[in-house]
Amino acid sequence: MNYQWAAEHLAFRDEVETFIHEWRTPALLREYRAREGAGGGPLLTEYYAALQQKGWMRMCWPREHGGEGQNPIYRFILVETMEYWGMPYGNLTYTSIAPTLATHGSEEQKQRYLPGIWSGEYTFAIGYSEPNAGTDLASLRTRAEKVSGGWRVQGQKIWTSLAAQSTHIWLAVRTDPDRPKHAGISLMVIETGSEGVTIRPLPTLSGLTTYETFYDNVFVPDENLIGPLHGGWEIIMHALNHERVGLSPTGNLARNYDLLVEHLMKHAAQKLQDPVLRIRLAEMKMEVQRHRALAVCNAVSIARDEMSPGLASMAKVSGSELRYRMTNLAMDLLGRAGALTEAAGELAPGGGRQESTWRASPILRFGGGTNEVQRSIIAARHLGMAR
């Protein structure tokens, strides 16, 4: 029993921080925000190339899939450090699609897609959810019918984030409507520019745009089927598992706290002496530590190669709910200025960070498996409650 980070883990964090300080420029962050998290801008491309050079993106992958086979705890430290400093470290294309392709793709598919993903040239949007298949994803209805040399896809997806910036769509389709619902799904890659694909923007409360995508008789060649026919559900589950270690990081919550206090120290030194406000801040600090406890427990459990779905769900619920509570309180503490957006300029505390995070917080609670589903997972898998 030892609650200390090993020297090599702290050294890795320091190395990542040094790299961050070298690259973290307002111009890069601006480009990152403008691209809504997709790769492809000139500065981002250069940055991702440098990140690739470091070998950090794949260091925890198995060697047979082109990684270094390092312990996943390094991934956790990388994610936490990047999150603290608000730096990009790859979207879902890097962190979820690429490792899934490496595991389930054919040799030819790996050659075709992986280099473009590493260079930032390819961005994949994920097409899972449909208007009538959200939490109950397995009831999805977008159909793929077999034709000569490939498939014809007909249907509609929603929340296809990054669709407009993407080069490809990672699509879950029903290939056999007569099988039980989990067993009739397949995974395919569609080039976003294919004939019959329509993209409709859906601006969200966060300021970012998500998309609805329509597939009207879109032809998908045979070689774009990923993994076995009707074997899509396992691949979807596999892709989700890759997100477990850096799920719900503490870094950005701690950063949020630090920036709030920094702002108060600079602009409201007198207010900061108010004992009531200080207790509120102490509570916030306590809550960040409570969340860190769950995030580290989850990471350490994954690093030990244990399957603890309950811990992953706890980290997800805890982090997403704290994000809301924390920014909510921060805005209260800031008063009217707390509601000013970035566009208000200097008067907006921390560039409107609290306001924008508060506004964006709902998606963390309902997205990635709703917190209701997560709580049921905790009850069943962690506590062994009868279902």
């Binding site: 769950l294 049921s376 905790i378 062994g384 409650m385 009868a386």
Partner: protein, 363 residues
């Protein structure tokens, strides 16, 4: 970072658990509660097994463990709701070991670990504030004044009393409880643990440690109290899960209702974060790097979590958990009392509040 107990500690925990389950029935605990006394017979048996010495070096007859092992012992005792002065004696003994000065301290430590002596801290006064101590160091006519909220004062052989030196510094004095100049008045409390207001009318007192020892005693006792809180929450949850798995309404177990599952999930989240923070803090104390803020933050967190957890346990038990035939109540009342002991959530948040300008830890 290694959060598993490891083989030695697993064995220790299993042995203590087995011993307590065999020796300490809940009926026996109820009897002690009714009589308002500590279970001294059980205490002697626990000492005779050598468990109390586990956190101490082998030269002292111990198991070369540390404060984390003390935490494990405390957790096991709290899981049984046993009326034993485990936190009080371990915190006293650890203070004697790390900060005790002179032969008196050495002798008292040895006697404590062998079970001959039973020292408990007597720190608080009417203000209920560890810093606001008015008791003066004993003059020629002995120690004169009052201490409040002294846990297990009547079961103890010695009290470790804080008093101010002539230069205003806090120091720790040992007073034997067979001194005729010492009077205890029982303070009935929610936790149903023996607690007293103690009056010292010229008691003989010997100095055994200075301000560092006093500060250490508070930190260690505060952290060990977290282990009590953790065990109370855990016991409440495991009973709740077991009950909802078998109790049927509308033809199905309660645990199959999502509303019930989600309450239990919230309890579990409180407990897992509490477990991590508690042992991380005990580990930091073991390594001598725990700050006052870290200990206070952990205590505040658990003291805030416990009422939510145990009250949810009651909610899911319904009437069954409300009757005292059911063992659930032990963890509710002991737990809430421990929330207030060694610094309430409010008091501990006040300590954290002093350092809000320091950055938040994220790794």
């Amino acid at each position: 970072m290694e959060l598993e107990l490891g083989e030695t500690r697993q064995l220790l925990r299993a042995a203590v658990r087995k011993f307590l389950e065999a020796e300490c029935s809940f009926e026996r605990v109820r009897e002690c509660e009714r009589e308002g006394r500590a279970d001294l017979k059980l205490w002697r048996a626990l000492c005779a097994q050598g468990y109390l010495a586990t956190p101490f070096p082998s030269e002292l007859g111990g198991g070369d463990g540390g404060i984390k092992d003390a935490g494990l012992l405390v957790e096991e005792v709290a899981r049984r709701a046993a009326l034993l002065p485990i936190v009080e004696v371990l915190a006293s003994a650890l203070t004697l070991h790390h900060h005790g000065a002179g032969d008196d301290a050495t002798t008292l430590l040895q006697q404590t670990l062998s079970g001959e002596a039973l020292p408990v801290p007597a720190l608080l006064e009417a203000q209920d504030d560890f810093d606001r101590i008015e008791l003066r160091a004993p003059a020629a006519d002995g120690l004169r004044g009052e201490k409040f909220f002294v846990d297990y004062a009547t079961a103890a052989s010695h009290h470790l009393v804080t008093a101010r030196d002539s230069d205003g510094e806090l120091a720790l004095y040992v007073v034997a409880t067979d001194d005729a100049a010492l009077k205890c008045e029982a303070l009935p409390n929610l936790g149903r643990t023996p607690q007293s207001r103690v009056r010292y009318d010229g008691a003989r007192a010997r100095r055994i440690s200075g301000p560092d020892g006093v500060a250490f005693l508070v930190q260690v006792a505060r952290a060990l109290t977290c282990a009590q809180l953790l065990a109370c929450m855990d016991a409440s949850l495991s009973r709740t899960v077991a009950y909802t798995n078998v109790r049927k309404q509308f033809g199905r177990p309660l645990s199959t209702f999502q509303a019930v599952q989600h309450h239990a999930a919230d309890m579990a989240m409180h407990i897992e974060s509490s477990r991590f923070l508690t042992y991380e803090t005990l580990d930091a104390l073991d390594r001598g790097v725990a700050s006052e803020e870290q200990v206070a933050l952990t205590k505040a967190s658990l003291s805030r979590a416990l009422p939510d957890v145990v009250m949810t346990g009651h909610q899911l038990h319904g009437g069954q958990g409300y009757i005292e035939e059911n063992d659930l109540y032990f963890f509710t009342i002991r737990g809430k009392d421990r929330c207030l002991a060694w610094g309430s959530a409010e008091e501990c948040l006040g300590i954290v509040a002093r350092g809000v300008e320091q950055k938040a830890r994220w790794l």
